[in-house]
Symmetry: C2
Subunit: 363 residues, 2 copies
């Protein structure tokens, strides 16, 4: 066998794909593919162990996690994701960085390495869109954004693709992040009104709230119990670590709470706060059951901890575009040996001429 | 922050390093570094969760595993390793393929991607060398090789670096693999005698046996109880999966069995066969205690399941040589954004001129 090739998609390649395809088309495709993947999900065909990772406070607060997924008989994806909330201020880097590695399960060969930072933001937005289309009022037009970091951009973008958004109320504890939010949303329809609002007013008045903060473990919830619209839907995105919660228990108590991934949500999501009997079906189960109408007009919460299935779908979408557009770099990887049982084969071309004769070895 | 860089070491780069440094020097350095790493190992400074993975029989028998390790406050290594015993015959690829990814724990940035196939074979050999120097008779001169695949080459190479090897007896169930073994060992001192031998004779007569087979789960042991030399030391390399064992229980019962990693060995190694009370100290503990002399002249077994610490040390060694020799490819990775909170920044250069004016947004 000759030299194997691995496709590498850098952040620049990912950007090129997004620019060429168009960010709206890409988000629409991703929402569509995720919707179908959730409907078709079958744990006997797609194995997704719970996320695990290392958490630490030295040298800075952080988390490095691995999220493996097996598409039985076909491919395995390993997502590595870092959560380092001090990155933006200290290093000028995003809070969430990520890399995806894709393997062929018939040989173990590395097929692709894909920068997962934009993909993670996109798929998190797309998952909220799938959930909101199922659970929120179809006429929802006002969106609340609580926490205006990187994830807020793709949350709002995703909402704008499935609802006729007229008003966005937004809040961030950091004044500078709040001030820059409008500018970071210039890609959206300029007719949408943006109003920086007190947190309480957002939760009280809008149709859909997307919460994605970096609140510390033990410091939540982000807001206290507030009267909301009877049909308020919340995409709870930021709660993804033991002890990190964003929503008040009173709000959860009167909401139908649907996790993306049950096992993760009870350890890391808003579902940490709930007795098991109070946790609803997963988004995938709801879509498979077709029970959406019965959820309205109650309060609903999508407890989004981030599921490897979403990453796998996002990876497949970007790889399809990369192949079609011939974007990406082909790396030498795998094995270069003619003899798979000889790890030192590289030594032999020079040695055969000298050693062969002395030892009298023939094949 | 500008574009981040990740060092990529391809199989060709790894080969270049091995050729330039010299395979003997590299093995000596690795044995030396591993020895010190085992002595200095402190589970509060180096966190090594048990290996996990996906195993499957479709489309072919295989295993894809992840082996994370955290060097607290510094770096994290994720090793991905595939075990696909039909690779050599079906795909011309090595049975064991591997990729290492190194992360900076202060930001989560990807520092390096290193092809781990040769490194895995090298570190497995080096670990056996560290164990054998501690447990085998110092005057050991005859080595038995049971299973003559890729791992056998580095096992024997490692033995040759710490013992004055005069005789190698070797056996493989596959006649072709057995026949090619001598040729694959031409890099060794030509004065060493190689004798293809019956399995029983090998175990009965040599000083040190290295066992590294692809025997099926449930099909072991590789050989039945045999009378051995009183000081025989065995490096048991191939047993690394639940139900996969290579050594007969009778031999284990009269041996001091030291695992590389206790938690893995009781699940996947020869230690699966033993009651907990019969399992010895780990290699790291033995080295820290300085108890080597008390082990001789009993039978000893190093139950080598493969430990992420070994991979981390091998990675550091190759990265040091790569930097010194300027070998490897610098990939664009991490984030390219000026604004870490704007995943769609790439859209704005073109949009600012058009949209900015219409919405009247100023910063």
């Amino acid at each position: 066998m000759g030299m194997k090739r691995t496709l590498f998609l850098s952040p620049h390649d990912i950007t090129s794909i997004a620019e060429t395809v168009g960010i709206d088309t890409l988000m629409d495709e991703l929402i569509d593919r995720l919707h179908h993947a959730f409907i078709q999900f079958d744990s006997s065909k797609t194995q997704i162990p719970s996320r695990q990772g290392f958490s630490y406070s030295h040298p800075r607060l952080g988390l490095l996690e691995w999220m493996p997924i097996l598409d039985v008989g076909s491919q395995m994806l390993m997502k590595m994701v870092g959560y380092h909330p001090q990155n933006p201020s200290v290093s000028g880097l995003p809070t969430i960085l990520s890399t995806f590695s894709l393997y062929d399960v018939s040989t173990g060969e590395l097929l692709a390495i894909v920068d997962g930072t934009l993909l993670t933001a996109l798929r998190t937005g797309a998952a909220s869109a799938v959930a909101s289309r199922l659970m929120a009022k179809p006429e929802s037009s006002s969106i609340g954004i609580v926490g205006c970091g990187a994830q807020a951009i793709t949350q709002l973008h995703a909402m704008s693709r499935i609802f006729d958004v007229g008003l966005v109320r937004f809040y961030d504890i950091d004044n500078k992040t709040c001030k820059s939010f409008r500018r970071r949303c210039l890609f959206l329809d300029p007719s949408i009104d943006f109003i920086e609002s007190p947190l309480e007013q957002i939760v009280e008045e809008v149709d859909i709230v997307c919460v994605a903060t970096s609140i510390d473990v033990g410091a939540g919830p982000v807001f206290k119990e507030i009267t909301t619209r009877p049909h308020l839907h919340i995409n709870a995105v930021g709660s993804d670590f033991p002890g990190k919660i964003e929503l008040p228990i009173e709000l959860l108590n009167r909401s139908y709470v649907s996790p993306d991934c049950y096992e993760q949500a009870i350890k890391e999501g808003e579902c940490q706060q709930l007795p098991i009997t109070q946790i609803g079906k997963t988004l995938s189960q709801l879509l498979q059951d077709g029970t959406q109408t019965t959820l309205r007009p109650s309060n609903t919460v999508f407890d989004s901890t981030g599921w490897a299935l979403e990453d796998y779908i996002a990876t497949q979408l970007f790889l399809a575009h990369a192949h079609r557009l011939s974007i990406g770099q082909s790396l030498h990887s795998g094995s270069w040996n003619k003899d798979p049982k000889n790890p030192y084969e590289f030594l032999h071309s020079e040695m055969l001429n000298t050693s062969h004769r002395h030892t009298g070895v023939t094949e």
